[in-house]
Amino acid sequence: MIPAAFEYIRAGSADDAFAQLQRLGADARVLAGGQSLIPAMRFRLARPAVLIDINAIKELSNIGIDNGRLTLGAVARDCAIERAPWIGERRWSLLHDASRVVADPVVRQMGTIVGSLCHNDPAGDWTTVALATRAEVVVRGKAGSRTVPIDEFLVDSFTTAVAEGEMATAVRFPVPGDRTAGSYQKVERKVGDFATAAAAVQVTLAEDGTIRDAGIALSAAGPCAVRVSEAEALLKGQKPTAEVIRGAAAAASKKSAPQADLRGSVAYKKNLAGVLVSRGLRQALARLGVQS
């Protein structure tokens, strides 16, 4: 299957890419990893007149930790997280888990985290992780760059806070404290599939062993990734007991509002939301040395 014809522009710098976007407006699409866009173009569901390829822009492929933030540029690949030297640290366990189940291992060589956020598939993985970790996205607009908290970034299915002519240039994850661990629990029909359901969980413990902070988010549970703030509130300040975990899982199951599709029924997916949050919490806590 062959895409409809288009004009190709390879941007030399972020400034260049942005200027082209501004010039071309709605006719142009940014090409990052292309792992969702190119198949859509092959089916001719997507038929942009111009592609602005940002893959060669060095400044957008950066991955770095500074000022308490992990910053990933717009063309930082999924696989870069899997291979990052710090990924084995406990505090990054949520990112670690997720990086191994996004798409398939070859697609991860090209796919990008920021691209996945911008695509905002309701069953995406990175959007869910970004919610649980309270990430923010750097969006370049006419008035310069601004930072958008992930909860505001994810607007609706396939719709984000990136407006026409704008581009997302990076995502920033706060560097979690030492007593933080996470877990990504995904049920998929096979490798490469979008989630039937998935839960991203991140927990920070206080000195006294209570939960200081928790991030809980679900994939495939609504128009886009869903934060289970009810579960987060339930957990905060509590000792991580089985009962508390059950409560959080129940809140997740209740909050989940999935669509029935080939991956499963609504009842099944709602059940999974609870099961996966529960498993995620238990695994995250186990990583912190707490058996629950």
């Binding site: 190119i38 092959r42 291992p105 090209m110």
Partner: protein, 160 residues
Amino acid sequence: MRVSIKVNGVAHERDVEPRTLLVYFLREHCGLTGTHVGCDTSSCGCCVVVLDGDTAVKSCTMFAAQADGREVSTVEGLAQGGALHPLQQAFWDNHGLQCGFCTPGMLMTSYALLKHKPNPSETEVREELAGNLCRCTGYNNIVKAVRQAAETLQAAPVQK
């Protein structure tokens, strides 16, 4: 548009439409038909080639324009001086192929895998090959082959 891509060490400069997928550039413009097309959705991995020496990519989900100025390795470049690459030899020894259609992609994914993980466990091989489908072998022998090749390569690395 004009693109220049070094394929298996040989520069190929061609005029192509921007919509030319890398796989069709290789197959139809370079005449290298070892890289195959098995699906429309970036699912099957028959088209996997290696970019810049160590990155396995699905060449049906990348435009030739994106590879302009870069190096691509395909299955045709694996054997050197008439000798099969240890991966090819191991696939042969272990009956790691039947119809042969997925084989080039399997080999190239494995090639990149061994660059990153020279001594993968059986589970790691299964995980890393999960972007490549095979309908014939049931994967057992492919996994065996990759591990045999890993051993061979660790004992006597191929300079490439």
